[in-house]
């Protein structure tokens, strides 16, 4: 191995998922789940907190629809302004038609019913961002 040749460091970096839910137990549980799956999860109590941190730091956003201050739909619109391609999964129970239509128009990947089926959630996350880690 040559001295000039710097060794190539390959690092396994977990993909980051932002979890936004006003309910502490839900966001905490979701965070625990995504971490158990191998992703790096970070929980936010509202959309405003996520936007403050910056959505570019995340590979996927998993957000509740009904939240005070800023709804999931409003958050999606804000995210689309800065990250048009960022995968976005919306958690809600039976959304109204106009909400669903608006969310689809803004590029939401999927709707997840709460309490969501874990297999479906894992499938959707993997479909959106692939395996939990990537080699850098």
């Amino acid at each position: 191995m040559s001295k000039d040749t710097a060794p190539i460091v390959v690092e396994r970096v977990p993909k980051r998922i932002a979890i936004v839910d006003d309910d502490r137990s839900v966001r905490s549980a979701m965070n625990s789940l995504v971490q158990s799956l191998g992703y790096a999860g970070q929980a936010f109590s509202g959309g405003r907190a996520l936007l403050t941190v910056g959505v570019q730091n995340f590979d996927l956003i998993l957000s509740d629809l009904q939240m005070p201050q800023m709804s999931g739909l409003e958050l999606l619109a804000e995210v689309r302004d800065v990250a048009p391609q960022l995968p976005f999964l919306m958690m809600t129970a039976d959304p109204e038609v106009h909400v669903r239509r608006r969310a689809l128009a803004l590029g939401v990947q999927a709707f997840l019913e709460k309490p969501c089926n874990i297999e479906t959630l894992v499938h959707l996350i993997e479909e959106a961002i692939g395996l939990p880690e990537e080699w850098i």
């Binding site: 137990s25 789940l33 158990s36 709460k114």
Partner: protein, 649 residues
């Protein structure tokens, strides 16, 4: 008037005068003595003429003049004493002048004189008897209360008794010779010619006459007329006997009007009224009062047969149209045939009824059930109205008020209230369903997620065991929270009795606010929470009061939807006079005047599309805790609802 009529009138007046003035006017005191002395003087003068003068004629016949002159002032005994005296003087004069001569002519004159005296006395006695009869009749005429008028055929008054004076207020003197029917303005129900014809044919007539009294009042008299005829059969007068029936007629008229009014009421009354004949029962009671049956109710108690007999004798004799309609019949006769024995009392009730009647009760009221048209069960309130004691029992009124619909409505109301209370609870849940669903859903989601996470942590190796344990602990916590929510919802939905536990008010309000925190935040209002009830405790059902608070909060938030800023929501608590006051206020449109009175009732809503159950639920819940709800508009607008709850002692 021709001469014949005049003559007849004159004769009639004389007869009437005799009839009316036939009283024997006996003199009293000094006049009687003077008359006696004068009579004695005349008699002695005749005696002197007869004895001392040589006149050979029947001088003694002149004693007849003495008798005639004074007889109208004497009694029968006095008349015969005078007769004896005159005869004695005649005999004395004869014996003095002719005893020794044996003069036949003188003896004949004596006999003629004595016979004349005795005959005259007999005639005078008969006259006296007739006069006494007239006197009695006249006395009778004045004693009677009837007005007796004798008039001639031309209508002029010949006799006017005291009764007539009293009735018409006109004296006898002023009425004599007057055509009284003209003066009194007599009004007859039939033409006068018809009355005259009746008199001519039947010699009598009777009928009612309207006449004027002395002060102008209208009198109604029942008059009976009798034609008076002389021995030749010629009518010479009409005797009119009249009785004042004005008051009687007024009473009769009043009675008639009263009867008409009663009949009108009976026929048109919206309450069913029957008339019962209790006469037979009255007879039994009368027997009881006479001692045969000392206490009818007690007497009848063991005797079912006697009671049945009494029941058989009680019958319906009349029914008003409402009663007919109640029993589904249109024809009264048909009703009386079908329901003659209608008495929906069982034996015990009938005994009580008879007992009430016996003890002088005037009303006996009883609620009973019976079969109506086509066998439909009727609930009736029956009230028997007995007349005062001693009056006939042949028309005992019985009012029947149909309570069937009332009872049904009362039952429906009770059922509806129960349903409403249940609906209120269910609706409460409905109104906050989003919150509850969210609250239940959240721990469920957390449980599932934590459980999955725990599995995956365990799957990743022992080094992740602590994370799995933490996740499982969170599963247990979330499951406990979900259980609390489910129990609370189940209790709210159930109709079981409420809990009666001490509730720290501010703690309870804080819990309620936590449940609607989401709605408060989403509504973007400025909430102000001022809980100052401190340690105040209210005994009751925590969940029910919590739901009341939730209702008020949701109402306030909904009331402010679409209203301009600033939109403020205030919730406060404090203690005043051992009452906890929980006040919820908003800056919405407030209560309109027309709804503020009704706002507490169910289904009165100020919100478009609202069911109006929120405040009704609150009121039910608060009243169940011995409190009350007050509503008002704020000084600066908006609605204010104050819950007052008594604190635990």
């Amino acid at each position: 008037m021709n001469a014949a009529t005049d003559l007849r009138t004159t004769k009639a007046r004389r007869r009437a005068a005799r009839w009316q003035d036939g009283r024997h006017q006996r003199e009293e005191g000094p006049f009687r003595r003077i008359r006696g002395i004068a009579t004695a003087f005349v008699a002695l003068t005749i005696f002197a003429l007869d004895t001392l003068t040589p006149i050979s004629s029947a001088i003694a016949v002149l004693y007849v003049l003495v008798l005639v002159a004074v007889s109208d002032r004497m009694s029968r005994a006095e008349l015969w004493w005078l007769c004896s005296g005159c005869a004695t003087l005649t005999l004395a004069s004869f014996f003095i002048d002719h005893t020794l001569t044996g003069d036949l002519a003188a003896t004949l004159r004596l006999a003629i004189s004595v016979v004349a005296i005795v005959t005259t006395t007999c005639l005078l006695e008969r006259n006296l008897e007739a006069r006494q009869r007239y006197q009695a009749q006249a006395l009778l005429l004045d004693t009677t209360t009837d007005a007796i008028v004798l008039r001639d055929m031309a209508g002029r008054v010949l006799l006017w008794n005291r009764g007539a004076e009293r009735l018409y207020g006109r004296g006898r003197d002023s009425m004599m010779g007057v055509v009284h029917h003209d003066l009194l303005g007599s009004g007859f129900a039939v033409p006068f010619t018809m009355i005259e014809q009746a008199l001519e044919q039947n010699s009598a007539w009777d009928g009612e006459i309207q006449q004027s009294g002395s002060d102008g009042e209208v009198l109604t008299v029942a008059s009976r007329w009798t034609l008076q005829c002389d021995p030749q059969g010629m009518p010479w007068a009409v005797l009119e006997t009249s009785t004042d029936v004005t008051a009687k007629k007024a009473v009769e008229q009043a009675l008639n009007q009263s009867e008409k009014r009663y009949r009108s009421i009976f026929e048109t009354l919206a309450v069913a009224v029957l008339e019962y004949d209790f006469s037979a029962v009255g007879a039994v009671l009368a027997d009881g009062r006479r001692g045969a049956l000392p206490d009818v109710a007690r007497h009848l108690a063991p005797d079912a047969e006697l009671l049945a007999e009494v029941r058989r004798h009680i019958c319906v004799v009349n029914a008003n149209p409402t009663a007919l309609a109640l029993m589904g019949l249109a024809c009264r006769e048909h009703f009386l045939e079908s329901y003659c024995d209608f008495l929906p009392f069982d034996d015990e009730t009938l005994r009580s009824c008879l007992g009430a009647l016996e003890t002088g009760g005037t009303v006996f009221e009883h609620e009973t059930s019976t079969s109506g048209p086509e066998g439909v069960a009727l609930t009736l309130n029956i009230a028997l109205h007995f007349p005062p004691a001693g009056e006939p029992l042949d028309r005992v009124q019985c009012s029947m008020v149909d309570l069937t619909e009332h009872r049904r409505m009362a039952d429906d109301l009770a059922r509806t209230r129960s349903d409403l209370e249940h609906a209120m609870r269910v609706t409460t849940i409905g109104e906050v369903s989003a919150t509850i669903a969210h609250e239940v859903n959240q721990p469920l989601a957390a449980i599932l997620t934590y459980a999955e996470a725990a599995q995956r942590w365990l799957g990743r190796g022992p080094e992740h065991r602590s994370k799995a344990v933490a996740a499982l602990q969170e599963v247990a916590n979330a499951a406990g929270h979900a259980g609390d929510i489910v129990r609370g919802v189940r209790r709210l939905l159930s109709r079981s009795s409420r809990e009666d536990l001490p509730i720290p008010i501010d703690d309870m309000i804080s819990d309620a606010i936590r449940l609607v925190r989401r709605e408060i935040l989403e509504s973007r209002v400025n909430p102000t929470l001022d809980l100052a009830a401190m340690d105040a405790i209210v005994f009751g059902d925590r969940l029910l009061l919590q739901q009341s608070i939730i209702n008020l909060v949701i109402n306030a938030l909904q009331a402010m939807q679409g209203t301009p800023d600033p939109r403020e929501f205030r919730l406060s608590s404090r203690v005043e006079d051992r009452q906890v006051l929980i006040t919820v206020g908003d800056t919405g449109p407030g209560f309109s005047d027309d709804i503020i009175e009704e706002a507490m009732n169910a289904f009165a809503s100020t919100r478009h599309g609202g069911m109006g159950l929120g405040l009704a639920i609150c009121r039910s819940a608060v009243e169940a805790h011995g409190g009350k709800v007050r509503i008002m508009n704020g000084a600066k607008g908006g609605a204010i609802v104050i819950l007052e709850l008594p604190t635990a002692a």
